[in-house]
Symmetry: C2
Subunit: 338 residues, 2 copies
């Protein structure tokens, strides 16, 4: 029996060097007009992307992001062993319909906005465990399909508090493979469900921040690292409000974070684009990672990143029934060194 | 670099012998009154299970099933490395809230009614890959929470055609572990999304049967086995209608199945309990496997089973938008021989 790859409580070594060999990001118009706009593979013209509904547009975005990632990996679809994906829509239809015509074995995930990280966690374990050579991992979200499902009809035009975030219209996909190409996924930390009693669905940053902190602290403890071990620590979609809570909670735990960013604060110009606390949704961290961060690592502008994907696991039904918001955060170490 | 564990197109060898060391099933009253009623760990009195809503009852059933499985495995919750689960409810709240207080790392899945098989596929790979020693895998469904979400208010009392199935009120959970105890998971086959254009959500058996057949045929080809290699081939929740279609389609492929059953036809007495085509829902195969089939293998009444979990991946929104029903089926070989 081989030795366990688990270190500490929740962290796993990816021993063989699982490479990110391809990455694709397709985003909406607002995301295309944001500070990272030029970095994405494709910016769609309007919310419909030539389809009849927003849900179908989201499906198409996910499919296109898969094709970009696979093409940039110099692979063909028939090289892909497994697709791991999920999204925010009820029954994850964004993903289920995206893979329908691809003929590739599929394992559906639900991790809400943590799905990009969750898919990379499982994908890198399956490759390192010698189950697959090439796995596509990713997710999507769409502002309009999310508003329709989680909040009010768009036409209602309700005011939002400044703690509220905008669900990104975006999809991001990576191809993981056994390869010597940089960068590598070297460690992953699987999060626990954390619920501190926050019930305000217009303040998801506050709900998710404690989950991010729990995973961050566990990761440092499990791996005997500290914030300075990384060039960048980046959370998925906490927005300005959640970011500040993470800074505060980490400060109380004795860590002063000087190299910490949040994808939710990077996708839009918060002031000029009237984005309040920032971006959220599965597509937020997926597109920022695939369009911006992974290329930055690949070009060695930064060399070692702790990516913490954050997700809020409530539904409109659970909220209506008075429940608080359970959250989760999974961490992935992406590095140019194995 | 070690050799790939993939055989053929979609199948993987679980080499080290991953044991099913615990299993728990909690079911509703109707399921308790069915032919397998005495085999479950616990039968709840009414749809609420002491909770205020059906969704909370489903969450509680899932939590109780986890506790039964872990207890029968003679483990404590702190021994569990990872929980893999999901369910049919929007945003998988049955699972997210069930694990909230357990403090165990969690990876959420969405595979609709294939979730029991999907969780066993991923769980056995992660254990065989030396990532974890003990993983809990499972799912749930609830007749009332599903009706509310997918169909009409219960009070409406609409007539159903005979092709329709009843969503099982049930949860099933297994504990997978590295152990020498029988039975073992020895091979898994990951399904592709198959959509033959069926749009009738009151005939899910017809929608899912081609997916089950695709995975069954691929499994036989990948592993160089045939139906007679197994004491039992069992699908998740095709019901009487889907069962007949599988028999027909397999017949056309040259296989006469004499050892084939469907969990959806076993949970209720189809006539006496007015169950039409049978049971469906994630909890159907989960409870039949955990309450009946796995114990039958453990007691060596049967020794080698091909379990094919079947799932329909549409949502009410995709159906309203005129889409057909994409389906998936994952296969798990459970055997007393490694």
């Amino acid at each position: 029996m081989q030795q366990s790859k688990k270190i500490g409580k929740q962290t796993y070594n990816i021993e063989q060097g699982v490479s990110i060999i391809g990455y694709g990001a397709v985003v909406g118009k607002k995301e295309g007009n944001g500070p990272l706009g030029k970095k994405f593979d494709f910016v769609i013209d309007d919310g419909y992307f030539g389809e009849k509904t927003w849900e179908k547009a989201e499906t198409k975005m996910q499919k296109e992001a898969i094709l970009y990632a696979v093409s940039k990996a110099r692979k063909s679809l028939s090289d892909i062993d497994i697709i791991l994906s999920g999204d925010l829509l009820n029954q994850c239809i964004g993903s289920n319909y995206a893979v329908r015509d691809l003929g590739i074995p599929f394992l559906g995930l639900y991790g809400a906005c943590s799905t990009m990280a969750e898919s990379m966690v499982i994908g890198s374990m399956l490759i390192d465990g010698n189950y697959a050579n090439n796995i596509v991992c990713g997710t999507s979200s769409h502002f309009c399909s999310s508003e329709r499902q989680f909040r009010s009809p768009l036409e209602y035009g309700g005011q939002r508090p400044f703690s509220a975030q905008l669900t990104a219209t975006a999809s991001g996909m990576v191809v993981l493979a056994k390869s010597d190409d940089k960068p590598y996924i070297t460690q992953v930390t699987i999060g626990k469900v954390i619920d501190k009693g926050v019930k305000d669905i217009l303040n998801m940053g506050a709900a998710m921040a404690p989950g991010a902190v729990d995973t961050m602290l566990t990761h440092f403890e499990d791996t005997d690292t500290s914030p300075s071990s990384y060039d960048l620590i980046i959370t998925g979609d906490l927005g300005k409000t959640g970011y500040q809570i993470v800074m505060d909670l980490m400060g109380k735990s004795g860590y002063k974070l000087s190299n910490y960013k949040d994808c939710g604060m990077m996708l839009y110009d918060l002031i000029k684009q009237d984005a309040h606390s920032g971006a959220s949704g599965c597509g937020c961290s997926a597109s920022v990672m695939c369009g911006h961060i992974i290329p930055e690592i690949k070009s060695q502008k930064i060399n070692r990143v702790l990516f913490i994907g954050t997700g809020a696991l409530m539904s409109p039904t659970s909220v209506q029934q008075g429940e608080s918001i359970p959250t989760i955060a999974h961490a992935v170490v992406i590095s140019n060194e194995r």
